[in-house]
């Protein structure tokens, strides 16, 4: 079980990887982002994207699930106030394998709430060839060992 005190600036946590299929891409998009270039590899709109690509929200959700299974579900996580910046740098396509990792960039105890602290992460999703396809800066609240 990880608490606030268990994070150190500079630490990198690897979250493992997940394969993305065309069925996955279409299933997420049909529910949350039904634009043609997320739904149909033959749609004329895929001229802009070079084929079927995953919804950016799907890519973010894949990262979240990787992080949950890696350590978040076994932590004192108390939620997050938001995402400072997120960049979708490269499209995610069927057959891609995405690996997640998070680097701790800041650790700060809360002044107003002594039961918790903020850990700031740079999260990244990496493709098979080592390219960063998405990154985000994300502060997360963690409970302290009391």
């Amino acid at each position: 079980m990880r608490y606030f005190e268990d994070f150190a600036v500079g630490e990198t946590i690897d979250h493992g990887s997940r394969d993305v299929t065309a069925d996955d891409i279409v299933a997420f998009a049909a529910e949350y982002d039904p634009q043609p270039f997320h739904l149909d590899a033959g749609a004329p709109e895929t001229k802009l994207t070079g084929g079927l690509i995953a919804s950016g929200w799907h890519v973010a959700a894949i990262f979240m699930r990787l992080m949950c299974d890696s350590f978040l579900l076994d932590s004192a996580c108390m939620g997050s106030p938001g995402i400072d910046t997120l960049k979708w740098l490269k499209p995610v396509r069927p057959g891609d394998r995405l690996s997640g990792r998070s680097t701790v960039t800041e650790v700060r105890a809360s002044r107003s709430r002594p039961d918790r602290g903020v850990v700031r992460f740079r999260h990244e999703l990496i493709s098979r060839d080592g390219a960063v396809v998405m990154w985000m800066d994300n502060p997360v609240f963690f409970g302290r060992r009391l």
Partner: protein, 149 residues
């Protein structure tokens, strides 16, 4: 007129609303964000949130769905926007609890032509979501590529 030319800074759009039932909250979270306060009412009562609440990624994904539906209905813009290079300042200022109804809206705050991709413009929009009591539960400043010719 291109989709880019049709956009004016200051344009506002109501995207409609969505009811975050317990079933919807748990279904999204089981797949993408299975922290106990998103999937289990009893565990959520003992969590810092005090009750079952939606994953922030669920709140954001629903905004996307309502936006796509809105523009699919609106012949004026069609589906000539997207994809997006990213966003800034996404905030979840308070939890979305079971049975909350969140209304989403957007306001265009900037537009410019892409330097790296001729024929495309980038439109920046501030999105907000508020619950049935008018309390903000979601906001972000997002960028999207739009056809400029």
């Amino acid at each position: 007129m291109s989709a880019f030319d049709a956009v004016t800074v200051g344009d506002t759009v109501d995207f409609g609303s969505y009811e975050f039932t317990a079933e919807r909250i748990k279904r999204f979270a089981r797949e993408w964000d299975p922290q106990t306060f998103h999937i289990d009412e009893a565990a959520a009562e003992k969590s810092p949130f005090g009750a079952l609440c939606a994953s922030g990624w669920h709140t954001a994904s629903v905004m996307m769905r309502l936006q796509v539906d809105h523009f699919a209905r609106s012949r004026e813009h069609g589906l000539s926007f997207g994809p997006s290079p990213g966003f800034d300042d996404l905030r979840w200022p308070r939890p979305v609890y079971a049975d909350d109804v969140v209304s989403y809206s957007g306001r265009v705050v900037a537009k410019r032509r892409s330097r790296s991709r001729p024929g495309l413009g980038i439109v920046t929009t501030e999105f907000t979501g508020a619950n049935q009591n008018g309390e903000p539960v979601f906001s972000m400043t997002a960028h999207v590529f739009v056809a400029a010719e």
